[in-house]
């Protein structure tokens, strides 16, 4: 018998089925379904939706067996890795320098833009971040470990 490789198309309904089971379980056991006097309890609605999701996940899984799964080129994940890198370096050097570093490295090192194009892109994005988010909205971006060490 030929076994079929598990693809992302199959994985999605499996994950949604697990989500459904978790909501049904907690909905019934922890939050309650229906009370004679008080009517529907906090678990009522999520439990019904959970059962519907479970049934449809089974249908979607059966449907996924006939479908081709798409590929996920490694390169497509680079921006997500970039965000993780920004989050980690924020802890050390703060968010604004991390964002600035990300834009510079991405444009110059990864995309190989000329210095002129890199600096134009850098200026545009920093103008948006500093103008709109720092000056206009007054968002207190984290300053990072090094700044805190120097300042305090």
């Amino acid at each position: 018998m030929q076994t079929k490789k598990i693809t992302s198309k199959m994985l999605i309904p499996i994950v949604t089925a697990i989500i459904a089971i978790v909501f049904i379980y907690f909905g019934i056991t922890k939050y309650g379904f229906m009370h004679e006097v008080r009517g529907p309890l906090p678990g009522f609605f999520p439990t019904i939706i959970g059962f519907l999701l479970l049934a449809l996940s089974v249908l979607a899984f059966i449907g996924s067996l006939k479908e081709e799964s798409p590929g996920f080129p490694v390169e497509n994940w680079y921006p997500a890795l970039g965000v993780v890198a920004i989050m980690l370096s924020t802890l050390v050097i703060g968010m604004l320098p991390s964002l600035a570093l990300f834009v510079l490295l991405w444009l110059r090192w990864f995309e190989k833009f000329s210095w002129k194009a890199t600096l134009i892109g850098f200026a545009v994005i920093m103008a948006i971040v500093i103008g709109a988010f720092v000056m206009w909205l007054g968002v207190p971006f984290p300053k990072g470990f090094i700044y805190n060490l120097i300042a305090y």
């Binding site: 922890k30 939050y31 009517g39 497509n76 964002l99 988010f133």
Partner: protein, 503 residues
């Protein structure tokens, strides 16, 4: 008459320096975001949501409404000049827009046709909205919990079931959206639920980072595939405003299809699940039944006018159910509704009576946005090529940074960035597998309303289902729901029958 008086009152709200400036800003950003292939109105509105935090709710929604509306104009630019639709409603525009720009060598006139038709369609949509919005709200006042439950079920099912490649996938994501929205606090008792002992989840999944991730950051991951694509305009002439003006004869050709599609598009926009894309398709299809001076598909003015007018009219028409019933017709509508709720406003039948300044101010702002967008859209014609050929490789880090700071600024904590990142990755995986995220967003926004109405209905009826069938409006809506659910099943049976007949 009363509606017109209220509209004038709305203009008195809008015509302040701050509101005119944000309308202008929304129009400019909407045109740019709409023109750039691959961003779209949904991502545009989501990415700009954090920028509106400092405004009062009226000013904030005026900016987002103007941005959404201007987006419909902008989508046609890249469709006409590059044969790449900036947004899905502009797909049909490319059919005649690109040949008119390249084969007929009239790129400026093609842009002018799109702009003029968008203006006419939008104007018709807004006029109908002015009269129909309060009528719908009056009807909505008759709705109790049972009727609201049925209406919300129709709205959510129609988008999940009818939009996208597979009804099952659409409904699966609708249900996932409902469950994600139920995390945090119980809507009726306020007690914590599904927080899994996590202090952050106690407040539920924050709306803005979730939306920025699912539609904005997932778009960045998708754009990675297009980063090496070279975008070039195949034009033989320089674009100027003077050289783009239409002749009286051209204008005579565009007017009838623009007016027809304006009316049709508005009614399509009112229907949940239909929206601007369906409007544009139907507008073009309708034009096929009428006479055009040049055959459609070869650069006919009538073809551009029909779909551009219809998609702008549909965008305006979609505001009627959003404001009057609190039911968005599309993913972008859901983001706008989420924004309204975030600012403490509850769109629905009472909005026109409890917050007339807001409701009429928004409608008046659409009229203002229509005029301002037309002026800017004509004004930027000479610079369009430069705007449209900004390389995708440059946009990727820019949008990524906006996503990160947008996610952070909601809660001033890294929790927002984490939610943005996770929902972005989730949205990307879903999209690659043919699961459109719009139904999930709509369900995420509407779920609390659905749950509270459903539970109230059950409390009133002592837990009996009869309440949904005893009330005539609710029973009618459930019939509509039944018809929606059956539509793909019937389509499938008919397709099978057709195939076996051919065999």
């Amino acid at each position: 008459m009363e509606n017109l008086q209220m509209l004038f009152m709305g203009f008195s709200v809008v015509l302040t320096l701050e509101n005119v400036m944000v309308t202008l800003l929304g129009a400019i950003l909407g045109l740019i975001v709409g023109a750039m292939p691959g961003i779209g109105s949904l991502a545009g509105v989501a990415l700009l949501l954090p920028l509106t935090y400092k405004f009062n709710p009226t000013t904030a929604i005026i900016m987002l409404g103007s941005l959404y509306y201007a987006n419909m104009y902008g989508g046609s630019f890249s469709a006409i000049l590059l044969n790449i639709p900036g947004d899905s409603p502009a797909v049909m525009t490319a059919l005649d827009g690109y040949p008119m720009a390249t084969k007929r060598n009239r790129p400026g006139q093609a842009l002018f046709t799109a702009n003029s038709s968008s203006f006419i369609g939008g104007l018709i949509g807004m006029l109908i909205l002015t009269f129909m919005g309060p009528l719908l709200a009056d009807l909505g006042l008759k709705f109790g919990p049972a009727e609201m439950t049925s209406l919300l079920l129709v709205a959510m099912t129609s988008i999940g079931w009818l939009v996208g490649e597979s009804p099952t996938k659409g409904v699966v994501l609708t249900l996932v959206g409902v469950l994600l929205a139920s995390m945090g606090m119980d809507t009726l008792t306020g007690s914590p639920r599904f927080d899994f002992g996590n202090i952050y989840l106690l407040g539920g999944i924050p709306f803005t980072p979730f939306v920025i991730g699912t539609v904005g950051f997932s778009q960045v991951l998708k754009l990675m595939e297009e980063r090496n694509k070279k975008v070039e305009a195949n034009l033989n002439q320089k674009l100027t405003i003077k050289g783009s003006l239409l002749t009286a004869h051209d204008f005579k050709r565009l007017l009838p299809p623009a007016i027809r599609s304006g009316f049709m598009g508005t009614f399509v926009g009112v229907l949940p699940g239909a929206g601007a894309t369906t409007g544009a398709f139907l507008g073009y299809a309708m034009q096929k039944t009428f006479k055009s001076e040049e055959p459609l598909g070869t650069g006919a003015i009538e073809g551009i006018a029909a779909c551009e007018s219809a998609n702008n009219a549909a965008a305006a028409g979609a505001f009627a159910p959003l404001l009057a019933l609190g039911i968005p017709g599309s993913g972008t509508g859901a983001v706008l509704l989420g924004g309204l709720m975030m600012w403490g406003l509850n769109p629905g039948p009472l909005l026109f009576t409890t917050n007339p300044d807001f409701a009429w101010g928004l409608i008046a702002s659409l009229f203002l946005a229509n005029i301002l967008t037309l002026i800017i859209a004509v004004g930027i014609i000479p610079f369009l090529i430069q705007i449209l050929t900004v390389p995708v490789r440059m946009l990727i880090p820019i949008i990524t940074v906006v996503c990160v700071v947008g996610g952070y600024s909601t809660s001033n904590s890294m929790y927002g960035v984490i939610i943005m990142l996770l929902s972005g990755v989730f949205g990307y995986i879903l999209d690659r597998n043919g699961y459109g995220v719009a139904p999930m967003l709509l369900a995420f926004v509407l779920a609390p309303l659905l749950e509270s109405n459903m539970r109230k209905a059950f409390i009133i009826s002592n837990g009996k289902l009869d309440i949904f069938f005893d009330k005539p409006i609710s029973a009618f809506l459930l019939l509509v729901l039944f018809a929606i659910v059956l539509t793909p099943v019937i389509k499938f049976i008919l397709r099978k029958a057709g195939v076996s007949k051919k065999k």
